[in-house]
Amino acid sequence: MISSIDIQHVKSEFPIFDREIQPGSPIIYLDSAATSQKPRQVIEAITNYYEQSNANIHRGIHKLAEEATKAYESARARIGNFIGARSQREIIFTRNTTESINLVARSWGKANLQPGDTILLTEMEHHSNIVPWQQLAQEIGLNLAFVNVLDNGQIDLEDYHSLLEREPRLVGFTHMSNMLGTINPVADMTRAAHAAGAIVIVDGAQSVPHFPVNVLELDIDFLAFSAHKMCGPTGIGVLYGREELLEEMPPFLGGGDMIKRVELTEFTTNSLPYKFEAGTPAIEAGIGFGAAVEFLESVGMENIRLHEQELTAYALDRLEEVPGVRVYGPAADQKGGVMSFSFEGVHPHDVAQILDSLSIAVRAGHHCAMPLHEKFHLPATTRASFYLYTDKSEIDRLIEGLYKVKEIFN
Protein backbone atom coordinates (compact mmCIF):
# COMPACT_ATOMS: atom_id res chain seq x y z
CA MET A 1 0.00 0.00 0.00
CA ILE A 2 1.36 3.42 -0.88
CA SER A 3 1.16 5.79 2.02
CA SER A 4 -0.93 8.89 1.53
CA ILE A 5 1.70 11.09 3.13
CA ASP A 6 5.46 11.26 3.03
CA ILE A 7 5.96 10.17 6.58
CA GLN A 8 9.71 10.74 6.72
CA HIS A 9 9.27 14.27 5.52
CA VAL A 10 6.39 14.95 7.88
CA LYS A 11 8.32 13.60 10.85
CA SER A 12 11.33 15.72 10.06
CA GLU A 13 9.15 18.80 10.49
CA PHE A 14 8.80 18.04 14.21
CA PRO A 15 11.94 18.99 16.15
CA ILE A 16 11.02 16.87 19.18
CA PHE A 17 11.64 13.68 17.21
CA ASP A 18 15.32 14.59 17.14
CA ARG A 19 15.43 14.15 20.87
CA GLU A 20 16.85 10.91 22.17
CA ILE A 21 15.29 9.92 25.46
CA GLN A 22 18.09 7.47 26.03
CA PRO A 23 21.13 7.57 23.79
CA GLY A 24 20.17 6.03 20.47
CA SER A 25 16.51 5.84 21.37
CA PRO A 26 14.28 8.59 20.01
CA ILE A 27 10.86 9.07 21.50
CA ILE A 28 7.99 6.96 20.20
CA TYR A 29 5.12 9.28 20.86
CA LEU A 30 1.79 7.48 20.97
CA ASP A 31 -0.07 10.04 23.06
CA SER A 32 -1.40 12.42 20.42
CA ALA A 33 -4.99 12.17 21.62
CA ALA A 34 -3.81 13.92 24.80
CA THR A 35 -1.86 16.54 22.90
CA SER A 36 -0.05 16.59 19.58
CA GLN A 37 3.55 17.48 18.89
CA LYS A 38 4.32 20.82 17.22
CA PRO A 39 5.94 21.31 13.83
CA ARG A 40 8.77 23.77 13.25
CA GLN A 41 6.40 26.07 11.36
CA VAL A 42 4.28 26.61 14.46
CA ILE A 43 7.22 27.09 16.79
CA GLU A 44 8.73 29.58 14.36
CA ALA A 45 5.50 31.52 13.96
CA ILE A 46 5.49 32.03 17.72
CA THR A 47 9.17 32.88 18.05
CA ASN A 48 8.93 35.21 15.12
CA TYR A 49 6.00 36.99 16.69
CA TYR A 50 7.93 37.51 19.92
CA GLU A 51 11.01 38.74 18.13
CA GLN A 52 9.32 40.94 15.54
CA SER A 53 5.75 41.99 16.27
CA ASN A 54 4.88 41.40 19.90
CA ALA A 55 2.17 43.88 20.97
CA ASN A 56 -1.32 43.98 22.39
CA ILE A 57 -3.93 43.86 19.67
CA HIS A 58 -7.13 45.53 18.48
CA ARG A 59 -6.77 49.05 19.75
CA GLY A 60 -3.19 49.89 18.89
CA ILE A 61 -2.24 52.38 16.23
CA HIS A 62 1.46 51.64 16.16
CA LYS A 63 3.11 49.31 13.71
CA LEU A 64 3.69 46.38 16.07
CA ALA A 65 0.07 46.45 17.24
CA GLU A 66 -1.11 46.54 13.64
CA GLU A 67 1.06 43.61 12.67
CA ALA A 68 0.01 41.61 15.71
CA THR A 69 -3.67 42.33 15.09
CA LYS A 70 -3.36 41.34 11.46
CA ALA A 71 -1.57 38.09 12.27
CA TYR A 72 -4.10 37.18 14.95
CA GLU A 73 -7.13 38.00 12.84
CA SER A 74 -5.79 36.21 9.78
CA ALA A 75 -5.40 33.13 11.95
CA ARG A 76 -9.06 33.44 12.87
CA ALA A 77 -10.04 33.76 9.22
CA ARG A 78 -7.92 30.76 8.25
CA ILE A 79 -9.44 28.60 10.98
CA GLY A 80 -12.94 29.69 10.00
CA ASN A 81 -12.20 28.68 6.47
CA PHE A 82 -10.73 25.37 7.58
CA ILE A 83 -14.03 24.24 9.13
CA GLY A 84 -16.22 25.88 6.48
CA ALA A 85 -17.66 28.68 8.61
CA ARG A 86 -19.48 31.37 6.67
CA SER A 87 -17.82 34.22 8.48
CA GLN A 88 -15.00 34.82 10.91
CA ARG A 89 -17.58 36.39 13.19
CA GLU A 90 -18.55 32.81 13.96
CA ILE A 91 -15.09 31.88 15.27
CA ILE A 92 -14.68 32.64 18.96
CA PHE A 93 -11.28 32.09 20.49
CA THR A 94 -11.40 30.34 23.87
CA ARG A 95 -8.76 28.56 25.96
CA ASN A 96 -9.71 25.06 24.83
CA THR A 97 -12.58 22.73 24.00
CA THR A 98 -13.56 22.72 27.64
CA GLU A 99 -14.02 26.48 27.80
CA SER A 100 -15.89 26.45 24.49
CA ILE A 101 -18.44 24.04 25.90
CA ASN A 102 -18.70 25.96 29.16
CA LEU A 103 -19.34 29.12 27.15
CA VAL A 104 -22.32 27.51 25.43
CA ALA A 105 -23.64 26.14 28.72
CA ARG A 106 -23.36 29.45 30.56
CA SER A 107 -24.38 31.81 27.79
CA TRP A 108 -26.76 29.95 25.48
CA GLY A 109 -27.87 27.59 28.22
CA LYS A 110 -28.76 30.14 30.83
CA ALA A 111 -30.51 32.35 28.31
CA ASN A 112 -32.54 29.60 26.67
CA LEU A 113 -33.22 26.79 29.10
CA GLN A 114 -35.99 26.48 31.65
CA PRO A 115 -36.25 24.27 34.71
CA GLY A 116 -37.34 20.83 33.61
CA ASP A 117 -35.79 21.07 30.14
CA THR A 118 -33.80 18.10 28.94
CA ILE A 119 -30.26 18.00 27.62
CA LEU A 120 -29.26 14.90 25.73
CA LEU A 121 -25.64 13.70 25.84
CA THR A 122 -24.03 10.33 25.26
CA GLU A 123 -22.24 7.90 27.53
CA MET A 124 -19.04 8.32 25.54
CA GLU A 125 -18.52 12.00 26.31
CA HIS A 126 -15.31 13.43 27.66
CA HIS A 127 -15.73 15.03 31.10
CA SER A 128 -15.65 18.41 29.43
CA ASN A 129 -18.92 17.63 27.68
CA ILE A 130 -20.52 16.30 30.85
CA VAL A 131 -19.50 18.42 33.82
CA PRO A 132 -20.55 21.84 32.41
CA TRP A 133 -24.03 20.41 31.82
CA GLN A 134 -24.15 18.92 35.30
CA GLN A 135 -23.25 22.33 36.70
CA LEU A 136 -25.95 23.99 34.65
CA ALA A 137 -28.46 21.28 35.49
CA GLN A 138 -27.80 21.84 39.15
CA GLU A 139 -28.11 25.59 38.85
CA ILE A 140 -31.34 25.78 36.93
CA GLY A 141 -32.86 22.34 37.33
CA LEU A 142 -32.46 20.43 34.07
CA ASN A 143 -32.73 16.77 33.20
CA LEU A 144 -29.68 15.13 31.72
CA ALA A 145 -30.21 12.08 29.55
CA PHE A 146 -27.46 9.89 28.09
CA VAL A 147 -27.55 7.86 24.93
CA ASN A 148 -26.45 4.28 25.45
CA VAL A 149 -23.15 3.11 23.99
CA LEU A 150 -23.17 -0.40 22.54
CA ASP A 151 -20.67 -3.06 23.50
CA ASN A 152 -18.97 -2.61 20.15
CA GLY A 153 -18.27 1.01 21.08
CA GLN A 154 -20.85 2.59 18.81
CA ILE A 155 -23.67 4.91 19.71
CA ASP A 156 -26.95 3.07 20.14
CA LEU A 157 -28.85 4.96 17.44
CA GLU A 158 -32.13 3.35 18.36
CA ASP A 159 -31.75 4.66 21.88
CA TYR A 160 -30.76 8.05 20.44
CA HIS A 161 -33.93 8.32 18.39
CA SER A 162 -36.13 7.25 21.24
CA LEU A 163 -34.48 9.74 23.61
CA LEU A 164 -35.04 12.50 21.05
CA GLU A 165 -38.74 11.94 21.63
CA ARG A 166 -38.27 13.58 25.01
CA GLU A 167 -37.68 16.75 23.00
CA PRO A 168 -34.36 17.81 24.45
CA ARG A 169 -33.57 21.48 23.93
CA LEU A 170 -29.92 20.70 23.32
CA VAL A 171 -28.09 17.63 22.09
CA GLY A 172 -24.35 17.33 22.69
CA PHE A 173 -22.06 14.60 21.47
CA THR A 174 -18.51 13.98 20.53
CA HIS A 175 -17.56 13.61 16.90
CA MET A 176 -14.94 11.04 17.83
CA SER A 177 -14.50 9.32 21.17
CA ASN A 178 -11.10 9.88 22.76
CA MET A 179 -11.27 6.47 24.41
CA LEU A 180 -12.97 4.19 21.87
CA GLY A 181 -11.98 6.00 18.73
CA THR A 182 -15.60 5.73 17.56
CA ILE A 183 -16.44 8.19 14.81
CA ASN A 184 -20.08 9.13 15.19
CA PRO A 185 -22.46 9.71 12.26
CA VAL A 186 -22.69 13.44 12.92
CA ALA A 187 -24.73 14.43 9.88
CA ASP A 188 -27.46 11.90 10.64
CA MET A 189 -27.47 12.68 14.32
CA THR A 190 -27.63 16.41 13.71
CA ARG A 191 -30.49 16.04 11.24
CA ALA A 192 -32.49 13.98 13.71
CA ALA A 193 -31.76 16.40 16.56
CA HIS A 194 -32.85 19.38 14.49
CA ALA A 195 -35.98 17.55 13.45
CA ALA A 196 -36.71 17.06 17.14
CA GLY A 197 -36.27 20.80 17.69
CA ALA A 198 -32.89 20.68 19.44
CA ILE A 199 -29.76 22.76 19.05
CA VAL A 200 -26.62 20.66 18.50
CA ILE A 201 -23.19 21.07 20.03
CA VAL A 202 -20.46 18.81 18.70
CA ASP A 203 -17.25 18.14 20.60
CA GLY A 204 -14.71 18.23 17.80
CA ALA A 205 -11.60 17.90 19.97
CA GLN A 206 -10.70 14.57 18.35
CA SER A 207 -12.24 15.05 14.91
CA VAL A 208 -11.12 18.45 13.65
CA PRO A 209 -7.43 17.47 14.03
CA HIS A 210 -7.80 14.19 12.18
CA PHE A 211 -10.17 14.51 9.25
CA PRO A 212 -12.08 17.13 7.27
CA VAL A 213 -14.94 18.65 9.25
CA ASN A 214 -17.32 21.09 7.57
CA VAL A 215 -19.84 22.77 9.84
CA LEU A 216 -22.22 23.61 7.03
CA GLU A 217 -22.28 20.19 5.48
CA LEU A 218 -22.78 18.60 8.89
CA ASP A 219 -25.24 21.33 9.89
CA ILE A 220 -23.58 21.84 13.28
CA ASP A 221 -24.81 24.67 15.48
CA PHE A 222 -21.84 24.76 17.85
CA LEU A 223 -18.47 23.08 17.38
CA ALA A 224 -15.73 23.05 20.03
CA PHE A 225 -12.09 22.14 19.48
CA SER A 226 -8.56 22.80 20.81
CA ALA A 227 -5.43 23.90 18.95
CA HIS A 228 -3.10 21.74 21.03
CA LYS A 229 -4.47 18.51 19.61
CA MET A 230 -3.92 19.70 16.04
CA CYS A 231 -0.27 20.75 15.96
CA GLY A 232 -0.97 24.11 17.61
CA PRO A 233 -0.20 25.59 21.02
CA THR A 234 -2.06 25.00 24.25
CA GLY A 235 -4.05 27.90 25.66
CA ILE A 236 -6.22 28.41 22.61
CA GLY A 237 -9.32 26.73 21.29
CA VAL A 238 -12.34 27.63 19.25
CA LEU A 239 -16.03 27.78 19.68
CA TYR A 240 -17.70 27.90 16.31
CA GLY A 241 -21.31 29.04 16.55
CA ARG A 242 -23.95 29.86 13.97
CA GLU A 243 -24.07 33.61 13.75
CA GLU A 244 -27.81 33.86 14.42
CA LEU A 245 -27.34 31.93 17.67
CA LEU A 246 -24.28 33.87 18.76
CA GLU A 247 -25.99 37.19 18.04
CA GLU A 248 -28.79 36.39 20.44
CA MET A 249 -26.58 35.09 23.22
CA PRO A 250 -25.59 37.18 26.23
CA PRO A 251 -21.85 37.68 26.76
CA PHE A 252 -19.82 35.21 28.79
CA LEU A 253 -16.94 36.69 30.80
CA GLY A 254 -16.81 40.46 31.29
CA GLY A 255 -13.92 42.86 30.82
CA GLY A 256 -11.91 44.64 28.18
CA ASP A 257 -12.47 43.93 24.47
CA MET A 258 -15.91 42.39 24.85
CA ILE A 259 -17.49 45.80 25.38
CA LYS A 260 -18.43 48.64 23.10
CA ARG A 261 -19.00 51.13 25.89
CA VAL A 262 -18.73 51.03 29.68
CA GLU A 263 -20.28 53.33 32.22
CA LEU A 264 -20.03 52.85 35.95
CA THR A 265 -23.14 50.76 36.24
CA GLU A 266 -23.74 49.42 32.75
CA PHE A 267 -22.04 48.28 29.60
CA THR A 268 -22.98 47.54 26.02
CA THR A 269 -21.44 44.56 24.29
CA ASN A 270 -19.11 44.57 21.35
CA SER A 271 -19.98 42.91 18.05
CA LEU A 272 -19.10 39.33 17.14
CA PRO A 273 -16.80 37.58 17.76
CA TYR A 274 -15.34 40.00 20.33
CA LYS A 275 -18.47 39.95 22.46
CA PHE A 276 -17.29 36.60 23.84
CA GLU A 277 -13.60 37.42 24.22
CA ALA A 278 -12.81 39.25 27.45
CA GLY A 279 -9.38 40.64 28.23
CA THR A 280 -6.10 40.22 26.43
CA PRO A 281 -6.37 36.99 24.45
CA ALA A 282 -3.71 34.35 23.87
CA ILE A 283 -2.21 36.28 20.96
CA GLU A 284 0.82 34.19 20.05
CA ALA A 285 -1.19 31.03 20.62
CA GLY A 286 -3.77 32.30 18.14
CA ILE A 287 -1.04 33.02 15.63
CA GLY A 288 0.47 29.60 16.26
CA PHE A 289 -2.96 28.04 15.76
CA GLY A 290 -3.15 29.71 12.35
CA ALA A 291 0.26 28.31 11.46
CA ALA A 292 -0.85 24.84 12.61
CA VAL A 293 -3.87 24.93 10.34
CA GLU A 294 -1.70 26.09 7.48
CA PHE A 295 0.60 23.15 8.14
CA LEU A 296 -2.28 20.66 8.26
CA GLU A 297 -3.69 22.08 5.05
CA SER A 298 -0.34 21.68 3.35
CA VAL A 299 -0.35 17.98 4.21
CA GLY A 300 -4.05 17.68 3.44
CA MET A 301 -6.75 16.54 5.83
CA GLU A 302 -7.88 13.78 3.49
CA ASN A 303 -4.34 12.46 3.40
CA ILE A 304 -4.09 12.56 7.15
CA ARG A 305 -7.32 10.61 7.44
CA LEU A 306 -6.11 7.97 4.98
CA HIS A 307 -2.78 7.64 6.73
CA GLU A 308 -4.46 7.19 10.08
CA GLN A 309 -6.95 4.69 8.72
CA GLU A 310 -4.07 2.57 7.55
CA LEU A 311 -2.35 2.82 10.91
CA THR A 312 -5.56 1.98 12.74
CA ALA A 313 -6.21 -1.16 10.74
CA TYR A 314 -2.61 -2.23 11.16
CA ALA A 315 -2.52 -1.52 14.90
CA LEU A 316 -5.79 -3.35 15.55
CA ASP A 317 -4.47 -6.42 13.76
CA ARG A 318 -1.20 -6.41 15.60
CA LEU A 319 -2.66 -5.69 19.03
CA GLU A 320 -5.11 -8.52 18.73
CA GLU A 321 -2.27 -10.92 18.23
CA VAL A 322 -0.82 -10.15 21.71
CA PRO A 323 -2.27 -12.65 24.21
CA GLY A 324 -4.21 -10.98 27.00
CA VAL A 325 -4.69 -7.67 25.16
CA ARG A 326 -8.23 -6.49 24.51
CA VAL A 327 -8.90 -3.36 22.47
CA TYR A 328 -12.12 -1.40 23.06
CA GLY A 329 -14.14 0.30 20.38
CA PRO A 330 -15.46 -0.44 16.91
CA ALA A 331 -13.81 -2.04 13.91
CA ALA A 332 -11.12 -0.22 11.97
CA ASP A 333 -13.43 1.35 9.40
CA GLN A 334 -15.49 3.14 12.08
CA LYS A 335 -12.58 4.16 14.21
CA GLY A 336 -9.95 6.88 14.45
CA GLY A 337 -6.37 6.30 15.55
CA VAL A 338 -7.05 5.72 19.22
CA MET A 339 -6.42 2.29 20.78
CA SER A 340 -7.54 1.87 24.37
CA PHE A 341 -6.84 -1.59 25.66
CA SER A 342 -6.65 -3.71 28.74
CA PHE A 343 -3.93 -6.25 29.42
CA GLU A 344 -4.90 -9.29 31.43
CA GLY A 345 -3.30 -9.32 34.85
CA VAL A 346 -1.42 -6.06 34.37
CA HIS A 347 -2.63 -2.67 35.46
CA PRO A 348 -2.49 0.05 32.76
CA HIS A 349 -0.11 2.08 34.95
CA ASP A 350 2.38 -0.74 34.88
CA VAL A 351 1.97 -1.19 31.15
CA ALA A 352 2.58 2.51 30.58
CA GLN A 353 5.57 2.60 32.86
CA ILE A 354 7.30 -0.35 31.27
CA LEU A 355 6.62 1.13 27.82
CA ASP A 356 8.02 4.45 29.04
CA SER A 357 11.23 2.71 30.03
CA LEU A 358 11.43 1.66 26.34
CA SER A 359 10.92 5.33 25.28
CA ILE A 360 7.36 4.62 24.20
CA ALA A 361 4.88 7.24 25.41
CA VAL A 362 1.30 6.05 25.89
CA ARG A 363 -1.35 7.14 28.35
CA ALA A 364 -2.87 5.14 31.19
CA GLY A 365 -5.95 6.10 33.13
CA HIS A 366 -9.57 6.94 32.48
CA HIS A 367 -8.77 9.51 29.76
CA CYS A 368 -11.33 11.91 31.21
CA ALA A 369 -14.05 9.42 30.36
CA MET A 370 -14.86 7.91 33.75
CA PRO A 371 -18.49 7.10 32.98
CA LEU A 372 -17.43 5.18 29.89
CA HIS A 373 -14.82 3.21 31.84
CA GLU A 374 -17.41 2.54 34.50
CA LYS A 375 -19.75 1.23 31.85
CA PHE A 376 -17.13 -1.17 30.55
CA HIS A 377 -16.20 -2.10 34.15
CA LEU A 378 -12.67 -0.85 33.70
CA PRO A 379 -10.83 1.11 36.37
CA ALA A 380 -8.49 2.36 33.64
CA THR A 381 -7.08 1.49 30.23
CA THR A 382 -3.82 1.97 28.39
CA ARG A 383 -4.22 4.17 25.32
CA ALA A 384 -1.98 4.45 22.28
CA SER A 385 -3.01 7.20 19.89
CA PHE A 386 -1.69 8.24 16.51
CA TYR A 387 -1.29 11.28 14.32
CA LEU A 388 0.10 12.24 10.96
CA TYR A 389 3.69 11.75 12.16
CA THR A 390 3.12 8.21 13.49
CA ASP A 391 4.50 5.38 11.40
CA LYS A 392 4.05 1.64 11.35
CA SER A 393 7.46 0.87 12.75
CA GLU A 394 6.37 2.65 15.90
CA ILE A 395 3.40 0.36 16.19
CA ASP A 396 5.79 -2.56 15.81
CA ARG A 397 7.81 -1.16 18.70
CA LEU A 398 4.66 -0.88 20.78
CA ILE A 399 3.88 -4.53 20.14
CA GLU A 400 7.40 -5.54 21.11
CA GLY A 401 7.00 -3.49 24.26
CA LEU A 402 3.80 -5.29 25.14
CA TYR A 403 5.53 -8.64 24.81
CA LYS A 404 8.16 -7.31 27.18
CA VAL A 405 5.39 -6.38 29.65
CA LYS A 406 4.11 -9.91 29.38
CA GLU A 407 7.52 -11.30 30.06
CA ILE A 408 7.99 -9.20 33.17
CA PHE A 409 4.62 -10.07 34.63
CA ASN A 410 4.63 -13.76 33.82
Binding site: H347, H349, Q353, I354, A364, H366, A380, I408
Partner: protein
Protein backbone atom coordinates in the same frame (compact mmCIF):
# COMPACT_ATOMS: atom_id res chain seq x y z
CA UNK B 1 13.22 -0.87 33.78
CA UNK B 2 14.78 -3.72 35.61
CA UNK B 3 15.52 -1.05 38.10
CA UNK B 4 11.98 0.20 38.03
CA UNK B 5 10.19 -3.03 38.15
CA UNK B 6 12.58 -4.68 40.49
CA UNK B 7 11.87 -8.33 40.96
CA UNK B 8 10.75 -7.57 44.48
CA UNK B 9 7.84 -5.47 43.27
CA UNK B 10 6.61 -7.90 40.69
CA UNK B 11 7.09 -10.70 43.16
CA UNK B 12 5.14 -8.99 45.92
CA UNK B 13 2.45 -8.03 43.45
CA UNK B 14 2.04 -11.60 42.29
CA UNK B 15 2.60 -13.22 45.69
CA UNK B 16 1.63 -10.80 48.42
CA UNK B 17 2.73 -11.86 51.90
CA UNK B 18 0.18 -10.02 54.00
CA UNK B 19 -2.96 -9.88 52.00
CA UNK B 20 -6.28 -10.32 53.75
CA UNK B 21 -8.58 -8.69 56.26
CA UNK B 22 -9.21 -9.07 59.98
CA UNK B 23 -12.29 -8.71 62.06
CA UNK B 24 -12.08 -7.62 64.83
CA UNK B 25 -9.33 -5.06 64.33
CA UNK B 26 -8.26 -1.94 66.18
CA UNK B 27 -7.84 0.25 63.14
CA UNK B 28 -9.15 -0.10 59.62
CA UNK B 29 -9.38 2.25 56.70
CA UNK B 30 -9.96 2.10 52.97
CA UNK B 31 -9.40 4.61 50.22
CA UNK B 32 -8.90 4.74 46.49
CA UNK B 33 -7.29 6.81 43.81
CA UNK B 34 -10.11 7.58 41.38
CA UNK B 35 -7.64 8.54 38.68
CA UNK B 36 -6.51 4.97 38.15
CA UNK B 37 -8.83 2.84 40.25
CA UNK B 38 -6.20 1.75 42.79
CA UNK B 39 -7.92 0.72 46.02
CA UNK B 40 -6.34 -0.25 49.34
CA UNK B 41 -7.74 -1.32 52.71
CA UNK B 42 -5.54 -1.87 55.72
CA UNK B 43 -6.55 -3.56 59.00
CA UNK B 44 -4.34 -3.26 62.09
CA UNK B 45 -4.28 -4.84 65.54
CA UNK B 46 -2.24 -3.37 68.38
CA UNK B 47 -1.42 -4.51 71.91
CA UNK B 48 -1.85 -2.52 75.10
CA UNK B 49 1.38 -0.61 74.58
CA UNK B 50 0.21 0.44 71.15
CA UNK B 51 2.57 -1.86 69.32
CA UNK B 52 1.33 -3.31 66.04
CA UNK B 53 0.89 -7.04 66.43
CA UNK B 54 -0.86 -7.88 63.19
CA UNK B 55 -1.59 -6.01 59.96
CA UNK B 56 -3.08 -7.00 56.64
CA UNK B 57 -3.97 -5.22 53.42
CA UNK B 58 -6.45 -5.90 50.68
CA UNK B 59 -7.24 -4.12 47.47
CA UNK B 60 -6.60 -3.93 43.78
CA UNK B 61 -4.60 -1.85 41.42
CA UNK B 62 -1.20 -1.52 39.86
CA UNK B 63 1.89 -3.41 40.93
CA UNK B 64 3.32 -0.42 42.70
CA UNK B 65 0.26 0.28 44.82
CA UNK B 66 -0.18 -3.36 45.78
CA UNK B 67 3.48 -4.15 46.40
CA UNK B 68 3.98 -1.04 48.45
CA UNK B 69 0.96 -1.91 50.58
CA UNK B 70 2.32 -5.37 51.17
CA UNK B 71 5.76 -4.06 52.06
CA UNK B 72 4.39 -1.28 54.22
CA UNK B 73 2.16 -3.56 56.23
CA UNK B 74 5.08 -5.91 56.78
CA UNK B 75 7.31 -3.07 57.91
CA UNK B 76 5.00 -1.88 60.69
CA UNK B 77 4.56 -5.12 62.54
CA UNK B 78 6.33 -4.72 65.86
CA UNK B 79 6.44 -0.93 65.53
CA UNK B 80 4.72 1.39 67.97
CA UNK B 81 1.90 3.58 66.65
CA UNK B 82 3.98 6.66 67.40
CA UNK B 83 6.57 5.38 65.00
CA UNK B 84 3.92 4.53 62.43
CA UNK B 85 2.64 8.09 62.53
CA UNK B 86 6.10 9.33 61.65
CA UNK B 87 6.55 7.17 58.57
CA UNK B 88 7.31 9.31 55.54
CA UNK B 89 7.34 9.13 51.78
CA UNK B 90 10.98 8.11 52.01
CA UNK B 91 10.06 5.03 53.99
CA UNK B 92 7.91 3.77 51.12
CA UNK B 93 10.50 4.63 48.50
CA UNK B 94 13.13 2.80 50.49
CA UNK B 95 10.93 -0.26 50.76
CA UNK B 96 10.35 -0.21 47.00
CA UNK B 97 13.94 0.71 46.23
CA UNK B 98 13.04 2.83 43.17
CA UNK B 99 12.47 6.40 42.07
CA UNK B 100 8.99 7.42 40.91
CA UNK B 101 7.50 10.24 38.85
CA UNK B 102 4.66 12.49 40.05
CA UNK B 103 1.84 10.20 38.93
CA UNK B 104 3.30 6.92 40.11
CA UNK B 105 4.29 8.28 43.49
CA UNK B 106 0.60 8.61 44.24
CA UNK B 107 0.22 4.88 43.60
CA UNK B 108 3.06 4.17 46.02
CA UNK B 109 1.73 6.50 48.69
CA UNK B 110 -1.86 5.32 48.68
CA UNK B 111 -1.13 2.63 51.26
CA UNK B 112 0.69 5.05 53.53
CA UNK B 113 -2.20 7.46 53.27
CA UNK B 114 -4.68 4.71 54.13
CA UNK B 115 -2.57 3.55 57.06
CA UNK B 116 -2.21 6.99 58.54
CA UNK B 117 -5.84 7.87 57.95
CA UNK B 118 -6.78 4.72 59.84
CA UNK B 119 -4.45 5.53 62.70
CA UNK B 120 -5.07 9.20 63.14
CA UNK B 121 -7.81 10.56 60.95
CA UNK B 122 -7.81 11.91 57.47
CA UNK B 123 -7.76 15.68 57.87
CA UNK B 124 -4.36 16.12 59.44
CA UNK B 125 -2.74 14.17 56.75
CA UNK B 126 -4.15 15.61 53.55
CA UNK B 127 -1.78 18.51 53.93
CA UNK B 128 1.20 16.37 54.57
CA UNK B 129 0.90 13.95 51.72
CA UNK B 130 -0.25 16.21 48.91
Amino acid sequence: MDDLYRELIIDRYKNPQLQGSMDPHDYSYEDDNPLCGDRIRIDVRVDQEGTVTEALFSGEGCAISQASADLLVESIIGKNLDEVKKLSTEHILELLGIQLGPVRIKCALLSLKVLKAGVYGLEELEEELL
